[in-house]
Every structure is written in structure tokens, then in C-alpha cells.
């Protein structure tokens, strides 16, 4: 069994290799993806294997190379653009929001942008305020984009292919704190549905909606809660835009209780949207109000104890859910 163990990093790398092998139009570009081997060693040796035309080191020019990725996609290529981390993504947000997200609609359907942007995100490596953002909510607000979050090894391994097959711009968030984590990959799995959320654990007492690093944290919490006889359903939202409302509604309809877990800071976040949708669609199904456990509303500080205090921890999920269930 241990033979099947694979790191999250290796999952991403295999997905990229596979994509490069499958389609000549695919190339990857970004800062330090080549000679350095990727800031997180995700693309180590790919330059050697595929050459500098397919693995392109870019200068520090996030707006420039994301814009160039959009142009290359318009020109018939299938670029995978890596933004080293989400922390630098705002520099390219104009390109993403005003060009990638609008071109198809604004041109009356003439010009589509088959671009994939990958970026690592998240909190947890003591990188302090400017390097600890979880900005998925900003991207999830923008029409015209498909926003994916790879909260599991499975998705890290299998989201890229459908993202590249999508004729529209897709952004994949990857989680730095998971890179070294090893898991087993189901062998028969060959693709994932990038339109659908995924129930990662079935349960009947309460639904946790989450994504990103929240997935494994929630599964850990669910294990512990199971010992206390509480059967938690864990739903990995996975597609942050357009949100898969039906899966949310189905789960709440079953469990009648919902809890949302997210690393991003609370206000105007994905969790707000999930709560609002449950309000709209499942109000009369609810046995208790939906509660959220989110990141603190603060620039994330460097010291470990403060960083830990800034994001949801499994123990907090456990105790919050216990409290919530006492409501009933």
C-alpha cells in the first residue's frame, strides 16, 4: 500500500507533465519555474525534460506574463501560467478581471481564452502579512472565471487536465502547506468533474462546507467527532466559482445543519456566499443557524502561535460543532 503514497507536490508535477506530454500547445511559464525548479520544487527537472520553449522562466512581471498568457491563449496555445503565490496575484488581477474574464462575453462570443493559471496559496509557513494571503474570495467574485481549489491530492493530480480542456479561463489554487503531505491516490481515478463540489465524507448530523486546507482539517475533525457519535458530512466545495449550489442544497437538506470552514478572512468570503445560499434555498430545512469558522480579520503575523490563532484549527471545528449540535 505504501507504494501508492504520493506527495501533493508530486501530484501537481505529474499533472503538469501529463499535460505537457498530451498536447503540444501546452506550455508553462512563470517566475522560477525553470532553472530554479519552481519556488516549491513543483517543476523540478521539467525544464531539462521539456526545454525552454515549454518551460519558460519569466522575469518578475506578473501583469506582463499573465497578460501574455491571455494573448497566447487567444493565439491558439494552451498556457499554464504559474503565479508563484497568491500574494503576488493582485499585480495581475486587472489582466485576469478585465481581459481574461470579459473577452468572450464582450466580443459577442468570438474570442475565448483557454488559459489556466495556477497559484499556491494559504497560511501556515510563518511568512507574515504580505505572504500569507488566502485570496480565493476575491477571485470567486468575478464572473467569467472558473475558480478551482485543490484541497486534496486527488484534485491536485487531476484538476489540471479538465481545466486545460475548458475553453475558458480557469484558476487553480494550490496549497503550499500541503506540498509535503503524503496520501494514497485512488488508482482508478482519471479525472475530476470541475463543475461539481465533492462530498469527501458522508454524514447525517451536520454538513461542513469547506475547501483548500479546510478539507483535510475538517476530515480530521470529523474523525474525532465520529468518536463522539456525531456523523459529519464533509463537502469540499472545490469549484469556488461558479459555485455548485445543488450539492450544497442536497447536503443541507439531508443533515439540516451546516458549518462553513475557510482559511480566508471572514468578511465577504466564500463562506459568506455559502451561508447566504443556504439561507435562500434551505431556510426551512435548517435546524440551527449556519455558522462559520474563518480566518481572523487581520494581516497574518509571523510568530507561529499568532499565525495558528489566525486560521481555523481542527480542535476549533470539533468544539464549534459540538456546541452547534447542542442547539438542537
Amino acid at each position: 500500500m505504501a507504494g501508492n503514497l504520493i506527495t501533493y507536490r508530486e501530484c501537481i508535477k505529474q499533472a503538469i507533465r501529463e499535460a505537457l506530454l498530451a498536447d503540444e500547445r501546452v506550455f508553462m511559464m512563470g517566475e522560477d519555474v525553470g532553472h530554479y525548479g519552481g519556488a516549491f520544487a513543483v517543476s523540478k527537472n521539467l525544464l531539462q525534460e521539456f526545454g525552454p520553449e515549454r518551460i519558460m522562466d519569466t522575469p518578475l512581471s506578473e501583469a506582463g506574463f499573465v497578460g501574455a498568457g491571455i494573448g497566447a491563449a487567444l493565439g491558439g496555445m494552451r498556457p499554464i501560467v504559474e503565479i508563484m503565490t497568491v500574494n503576488f496575484s493582485l499585480l495581475a488581477l486587472d489582466q485576469i478581471a478585465n481581459n481574461a474574464a470579459t473577452l468572450l462575453h464582450m466580443s459577442g462570443g468570438q474570442f475565448n481564452v483557454p488559459l489556466v493559471i495556477r497559484m499556491s496559496t494559504g497560511i501556515g509557513r510563518q511568512l507574515a502579512a504580505q505572504h500569507s494571503h488566502s485570496w480565493e474570495p476575491l477571485f470567486a467574485h468575478l464572473p467569467g472565471l472558473r475558480i478551482l481549489s485543490a484541497g486534496t491530492h486527488e484534485d491536485a493530480r487531476h484538476m489540471l487536465a479538465p481545466a486545460l480542456a475548458d475553453p475558458d479561463p480557469v484558476i487553480i489554487f494550490e496549497y503550499t502547506s500541503l506540498l509535503n503531505m503524503e496520501k494514497e491516490l485512488p488508482e482508478d481515478l482519471t479525472g475530476v468533474d470541475i463543475q461539481k463540489a465533492k462530498v469527501r465524507r458522508e454524514g447525517k448530523d451536520i454538513s461542513i462546507f469547506t475547501y483548500g486546507t479546510g478539507v483535510y482539517k475538517s476530515l480530521t475533525a470529523a474523525e474525532e467527532l465520529a468518536q463522539a457519535g456525531i456523523e459529519v458530512e464533509v463537502v469540499d466545495l472545490r469549484v469556488l466559482r461558479p459555485l455548485d449550489e445543488e450539492t450544497i442544497v442536497a447536503s443541507v437538506t439531508k443533515t439540516n445543519r451546516a458549518f462553513v470552514v475557510e482559511d480566508a478572512s471572514k468578511s465577504v468570503s466564500v463562506s459568506s456566499e455559502v451561508s447566504a445560499r443556504i439561507m435562500e434555498r434551505c431556510f426551512y430545512e435548517l435546524d440551527a443557524p449556519v455558522q462559520r469558522l474563518c480566518g481572523a480579520e487581520v494581516p497574518i503575523p509571523y510568530p507561529k502561535h499568532l499565525e495558528d490563532a489566525s486560521v481555523p484549527q481542527p480542535a476549533q471545528i470539533v468544539s464549534a460543532i459540538k456546541t452547534l449540535l447542542q442547539h438542537a
Binding site: S61, A63, G67, M77, S107, G108, G109, F111, R146, D168
Partner: protein
């Protein structure tokens, strides 16, 4: 350059078509047939005509929001452009873009881009795709001198030079970015010199002189096709009209505008042709008439078109074949 009478007439009529088409657009704006922003190119016609004649049909073109002229020269139907400005379904962008967002896959016209300098990096990407796919095409990207202050300009120029992509960057230096004069926009006002910071071959030309623009553009395009390297061409020109229909023009003297009008690119070219006996008054009248007719037909077409049904609002937010 040796041009035959047919060629020069075509060039003259292209410039004149831009002029008359835009005069009509302004009129239709006051009649509230056209709304939103409307940026006129009047005075700058020699740039679009002079540069675009150097291209092949396969080449890519990207423009700013001041792009009616380029669209016309590129061969898009005047009626379809006018319909777009009317917001009609038969417009080149289904009416969804309006004046600032003309798109046309057939002529490889990639907008109509309304974020200043936002399209420059996309032009680099188009060039990169052409290079990777070994297509013998170039990408021609127009922008104003104001755009050159944006970081986007800097990044795009550097990437173009590093990656050696076949892109012609054309700065339409009309001396103003809205109401901000060149001297408030750039400390280094000799814009051509900025090319050196990127190791990009650069040239500049009198943008009011069609023949000069043509020559500069031909040279630039030749060199791009031969070397595969980008080129930066500055065309010094002037807009005779306000920045957009909302502009009270408080920032420049009437006199300055009048002086530049003495150098009207259409009048100059016409005079040159008359002088060189490549054209006579009758020819000119015929061209005027022909252009007027095209413009009238464009309006008639736009009037006859329909609006997109409101049920289709969301259509193409994502591709229909999206998985």
C-alpha cells in the same frame, strides 16, 4: 515608395472614410443613438492608414478604445461597426462592446481595449503564440503616449524583447492623455528613447504625414518579419477633437488645435496628390461621394438592426461548449 493612382486613391479614401464615419458617429451621439464613451480619431487618420497598410490579412491587430479608424482600415464593414455603436445584435461584438470594444475574428481584430495599456501584454502573448506555432505573422499593437507611463508598458516591452516576439508596438503620440499633456506624463519626452531601455529597435515619425508613416511602418514590419524581433514605432500626431464626448477641453488652447489643423493629414495628402497629378478634383469629389454613401449606408444598416434579446444577457459569460 512607388504608388499607383489606385493605391493612392484607396489610401485617401480610407482616411476620408474614418473622418466622415466619425463625424457621423459624433452626430449620432448627439442624437443619442450612440451612448457611453465615444473617442474620436479625427486628425490621427494617417497613423492607422499608414501603419495598417504594411500588414497582411493574417496579422493580428490590437487597439485602444479609439479604434474606429483601425477597424475600418482593417476591412471591417462600416455598417457592422456602426451597428455595434448602436448596441445592436448585428454589430461586430453583438452590440455588447459599443465604440470601445470592436472585435472581429475574421480580420483578426482583437479589440477595442478600454483599460489603458491593458492590451500590450496580450499583444506579446499573441506574438508568442505565433512564434511557437511558427506562423509567419506579426502582431500590431496601438496605444497612446499616456499608456507608456503604465507599468504594463514596461513589462510588455521587456518581455517582448526577451522573448523576441514579432510585435510592432505603435505609440500614437497625440500629446495628451485625456487632459494631461505629455510633459506631465513623462519626464523623458523623447519617447523613442524609451526603446533603448529594453534593447528594442525604435523609430519615430511625423504621424501627420501619411507617406512618412507608411515608410516607417514598412521598414519596421520588414525588420520584424526578417528578424522576428519587436519594434517600437512612435507616430507623432494630434487629435483635433476632444478626448471623448465628455471633454470640455480646458487643458489646451484653441490656437494650438488650430495650428495642428493646418497639418491635417487628409488635406496634406490630397494636396500632395493634386500637386503630383496623381489625383484631380473630380477624383476627389468621387471619393468624397463614395465615402459619404458608405457612411449613410452604415447608419441605415445600424438603424435597421435589432437589439439582442434580454434573455441572452448571460450567454457567453462562459463558452457554450464548456465541459
Amino acid at each position: 515608395m512607388n504608388l499607383n493612382p489606385d493605391q493612392v486613391k484607396k489610401l485617401l479614401s480610407q482616411m476620408l472614410l474614418i473622418r466622415r464615419f466619425e463625424e457621423k458617429a459624433a452626430e449620432m451621439y448627439t442624437k443619442e443613438k450612440i451612448r457611453g464613451f465615444l473617442h474620436l480619431y479625427i486628425g490621427e487618420e494617417a497613423v492607422a492608414v499608414g501603419v495598417l497598410q504594411a500588414l497582411q490579412p493574417d496579422d493580428n491587430v490590437m487597439c485602444t478604445y479609439r479604434e474606429h479608424g483601425h477597424a475600418l482600415v482593417r476591412g471591417m464593414e462600416p455598417g457592422v461597426i456602426m451597428a455595434e455603436m448602436y448596441g445592436k445584435l448585428e454589430g461586430c461584438s453583438r452590440g455588447r462592446g459599443g465604440s470601445m470594444h470592436l472585435f472581429d475574428a475574421k480580420t483578426k481584430f482583437y479589440g477595442g481595449n478600454a483599460i489603458v495599456a491593458g492590451h500590450l501584454a496580450m499583444a506579446v502573448g499573441l506574438g508568442l503564440a505565433d512564434k511557437k506555432l511558427q506562423r509567419n505573422q506579426i502582431t500590431c499593437c496601438f496605444f497612446g503616449e499616456g499608456a507608456m507611463a503604465e507599468g504594463a508598458f514596461h513589462e510588455a516591452m521587456n518581455l517582448a524583447a526577451l522573448w523576441q516576439v514579432p510585435v510592432l508596438f505603435v505609440c500614437e503620440n497625440n500629446l495628451y492623455a485625456m487632459g494631461t499633456a505629455l510633459r506631465y506624463t513623462h519626464a523623458q519626452q523623447d519617447l523613442e528613447k524609451k526603446g533603448a531601455a529594453y534593447g528594442i529597435a525604435s523609430s519615430s515619425v511625423d504621424g501627420m504625414d501619411l507617406m512618412a508613416v507608411m515608410q516607417a511602418a514598412n521598414e519596421a514590419v520588414d525588420s520584424i518579419r526578417q528578424t522576428g524581433q519587436p519594434h517600437f514605432l512612435v507616430c507623432n500626431t494630434y487629435r483635433f477633437r476632444a478626448h471623448s464626448m465628455f471633454d470640455a477641453e480646458l487643458y489646451r488652447e484653441k490656437k494650438e488645435v488650430e495650428e495642428w489643423k493646418q497639418r491635417d493629414p487628409i488635406t496634406s495628402f490630397k494636396e500632395l496628390l493634386l500637386q503630383q497629378k496623381m489625383l484631380n478634383d473630380e477624383d476627389y469629389q468621387a471619393i468624397e461621394k463614395q465615402v459619404q454613401q458608405e457612411v449613410e449606408q452604415a447608419v441605415a444598416f445600424a438603424e435597421s438592426c435589432s437589439f439582442e434579446p434580454v434573455e441572452e444577457l448571460l450567454k457567453y459569460t462562459y463558452s457554450e461548449k464548456a465541459n
